[in-house]
Symmetry: C2
Subunit: 430 residues, 2 copies
Amino acid sequence: MTVEKRTPLPISEAVERVMEHTKPPEKEWVSVEEAYGRYLAEDLIADHDVPSFDRSPYDGFAIIAGDTSEASRENPVTLEVIGEIGAGDVFEGHVTHNQAVRIMTGAKIPDDCNAVIMLELVHEFMENGKPYIEVKRSLQEGDNISFQGEDTQKGTPLVQKGTCINPGVNALLATFGYNQVPVAKKPVVGVVATGSELLDVSEPLSPGKIRNSNSYMMLAQIKKAGAEAKYLGKLQDDFEECLQAVRDALDEVDILITTGGVSVGDFDYVPAILESLDATVLFNKVAMRPGSVTTVAAVGDKLIYGLSGNPSACYVGFEVFTRPVIRHSLSSQTPHLRKTKAVLGSDFPKPNPFTRFVRASIIDTDGQYTAVPTGLDKSGSVTSLSQADVFIVLPGGTRGYEKGMSVDVLFLEDHKGSEWPWSNIVPSYR
Amino acid sequence: MTVEKRTPLPISEAVERVMEHTKPPEKEWVSVEEAYGRYLAEDLIADHDVPSFDRSPYDGFAIIAGDTSEASRENPVTLEVIGEIGAGDVFEGHVTHNQAVRIMTGAKIPDDCNAVIMLELVHEFMENGKPYIEVKRSLQEGDNISFQGEDTQKGTPLVQKGTCINPGVNALLATFGYNQVPVAKKPVVGVVATGSELLDVSEPLSPGKIRNSNSYMMLAQIKKAGAEAKYLGKLQDDFEECLQAVRDALDEVDILITTGGVSVGDFDYVPAILESLDATVLFNKVAMRPGSVTTVAAVGDKLIYGLSGNPSACYVGFEVFTRPVIRHSLSSQTPHLRKTKAVLGSDFPKPNPFTRFVRASIIDTDGQYTAVPTGLDKSGSVTSLSQADVFIVLPGGTRGYEKGMSVDVLFLEDHKGSEWPWSNIVPSYR
């Protein structure tokens, strides 16, 4: 029985190797009603001015400003109301001096008018069966007009490709006539579980066995990252069957993730499968905790991830090495977890040669963020993941860390992401 | 032509009135594979210990600790390896002194053993065809054992109902055998557009017209809040047709939102429709900008929202008055937008009697958050919404606000939410 020796790779180098194997994003079209939460595959450019015509921001009266130049409380000016314009209508008539047109919010200003007076500021009355208004103040040319292009000028780049479509982006898409929206095609990510200790979720517990929780965690992580998740079941114990299952899986997916069976020990078919597939192993050990025993390999234009069977190691391995590949496929310029600083909420007196990712919950005290580790931090702990908002990043080395220090944190729920967040962890990253 | 006079209600009171008309959450069951992103309808309680048996956290050898009490580098102890246990297996034999059992990560510790020594720390050898290990250190009882219940004890409440199911919660659900998951039923929220100026997204622009962007923004906001969105089309100009369309819509939805047609002016059927439906108008004007002209009415156990036709006013009205109703239906204890503090990124010298919601983007400088208004802040502006992370809340009154001040912000993209965030805006809220 021999134990394979593995050399741990710095995190930055491991991520770099993975990112060299990303594929260019592909595009597909979805209806504007289905676009929410997808990632834009093209920059969104204004194809017309907004507003596309001079319009009234209020209900009121469109007038010629010069007619009011002498108006005051003591000396009101009377204008004849010669028509009205509903929103969406266009006034076809001609407006001359001392005339006004009733105008609704959003309606187009008549060509002859150059100001709007709000409904609340006039006195309306009838005389000889004709409607009039009395104006008690002087208006300037342009008063209360939303001018064409004031909000957005034609040609303005509005939203960058790779942006997650939020409600505001959806409104822009509708404004600019995108009945069909170009979005990045979701890569398909398959999950296979390995490990004879695994029970299906519906099976009763039995001695020595645990339920397969990693697969369902991964499926959710894949969806969170923006990809399509496919659960491909549990691998059998027979090597040839495993190999065939992996070959079949690779036909169906862009990325294949195996969880479990990657400890340094026996009963682990992953290395042998990778060898049989003639895969290029990018790395099989990383200088991080948890997740040091993470394998990534390339087979043709597909990636195979061998993630640990420990839930936390599996979780970290996905977020650090798989998520950025998925987000890159979604055109994101910021595919990595969003990094910022927070106050460390616990002591970590023991140094560790490997960089640690500590799952933590963020306590927000009026905008001051403290990262408090969620429960015990054994790599087998699953409860702490459900409460984690961030990973605290504690760079490896010869020192410990103290409560109150400012440390790097990586946000787990975030659409924005970061470019390359590791520069101050491993400065050698190019 | 008369103008209806409306008295603005303080925001807190308006929200309070709406929250009095929420319905109790309903429950439905979905498969664990489909549970991600839904909201738990019941507390999740551990129904067994985790681990459910004493297990090995490493690949190594299960031993009797006492056998190594004299072991040292100079004086190694030799133990006979009498078997091996794969993950998921149970060792059926009996282990006596000076014996060891090869054990895989996650496997159950044999009943007779009380410690594990890691694979890397022993020397393995064969003698007379039998396998042995040499141990060069002394172990204590319990060393390297993950004890039953160490992570989670049976009966521990793990996740509160109303929590959005993230990957970590998904893992817990699988661990505890939730093949079917109790989740809050999504309320159905319908959207109808009003306004004769509105073009469909696919129609070409024409003078005086704009494309209907609010409806598509609302559909995305509804999904973001966690509800099911239903677009019910544009109301016609004929009053009786409008009324019938609203009656029909109410049969299909829990909440109905109309956008547009709620300015104080004519051509607005909403008040007349509410009267015909014998609806209880909760309020029709709120002391806030944008969104002051927001109407909410109750018809039986359903709510009808008359939101402004201005995109930003519509957006704010939904987030402040509709989102908490939806999240309450999803069992959330924190249904309102998450409030925190940030540094104000611009001057707002002019006081305003109404509380202002200023859409802003968050600039994160090493965990110090500055809220910078996104573009011009006219209520008709749509581009600024797509870049907004937060609303800056500027309480109404007689003072302006200066760049650098600490102000309240409400996060727009957030699963956690707040309880009642308005206490310091309007202290009278009970």
